[in-house]
């Protein structure tokens, strides 16, 4: 990787539709993806609710942006760290989350999962390893 590539972490701690933070975060991630940086996303606390399956916003009048997470792999955003303790506290498991895959062009385009379940301590390590942290 080039020397001028920085590690960017987008931290998501809010549920998807009660505030605009989650949608704005995703917008910024997509914009930032154009700049060829080393991008990771973190989902903790209520942020884990952003990734759940079966979201249907037809009757609340706002865009359901959850399918967009499945497109992140096309923008080379392939590291979605999800905190296990946050899932546990909310009665969720990996099965409750969307399947989000990316194609590894260095490995015969094999499909690989983007979601990485990490412990709270591992999440702290991920955060401490960044150049820039953007919070939503």
């Amino acid at each position: 990787m080039e020397d001028d590539v920085k590690k960017f972490l987008y931290v998501n701690r809010k549920a998807p539709y009660g505030t605009i933070y989650a949608l704005e975060s995703l917008e910024v991630v997509l914009i930032g993806a154009a700049f060829d940086q080393d991008v990771s996303l973190a989902f903790l606390d209520d942020g884990v609710f952003q990734l759940t399956k079966s979201q249907d916003t037809k009757e609340i009048g706002v865009k359901n942006f959850s399918p967009t997470f499945r497109a992140l792999g096309d923008y080379e955003v392939t590291k979605l760290y999800v905190e296990k303790e946050s899932l546990d506290e909310r009665g969720l498991t990996l099965d409750d989350l969307q399947e989000i895959m990316w194609e590894d062009e260095d490995d015969d385009y094999e499909e690989k999962p983007s979601i990485r379940i990490v412990s709270r301590a591992e999440m702290a390590d991920v955060m401490a390893d960044q150049d820039v942290i953007l919070s939503f």
């Binding site: 701690r13 933070y21 903790l44 709270r120 999440m123 702290a124 955060m127 401490a128 942290i133 919070s135």
Partner: protein
């Protein structure tokens, strides 16, 4: 390679301060600003957790926000430092990164 964490919401309204403390690494600094400074007061339900953290992270509250809310120095938890706006800038400059716990 330390991080400056900022918390700007009351710990009695949401979990941001608790989540911040659960993710802060030894040697980091947690700066309480705006309504976050309510976490710096003694005699609260969070006081024990805060005092326990003070041994491994620096706990700092922004003096102008304490003043605005009438939180006198005598009411601060043991181990809490205070700083002004210039000190806030120095903290941002002296850490490797800043993480806002919104």
């Amino acid at each position: 390679m330390a991080t400056l964490h900022t918390v700007n919401k009351s710990p009695f309204a949401n979990q941001s301060l608790l989540s911040c403390l659960a993710h802060a690494k030894d040697g980091d600094t947690v700066l309480m600003i705006e309504d976050g400074v309510y976490g710096a007061a003694s005699g609260t339900g969070l006081a024990d957790a805060m005092v326990a953290m003070a041994s491994r992270v620096a706990l700092v509250a922004l003096q102008p926000d304490l003043n605005a809310r009438g939180i006198a120095a005598a009411r601060l938890l043991d181990g809490i430092k205070t700083t002004d706006y210039a000190g806030f800038v120095e903290l941002a400059a002296s850490h490797d990164r800043t993480q806002a716990w919104l």
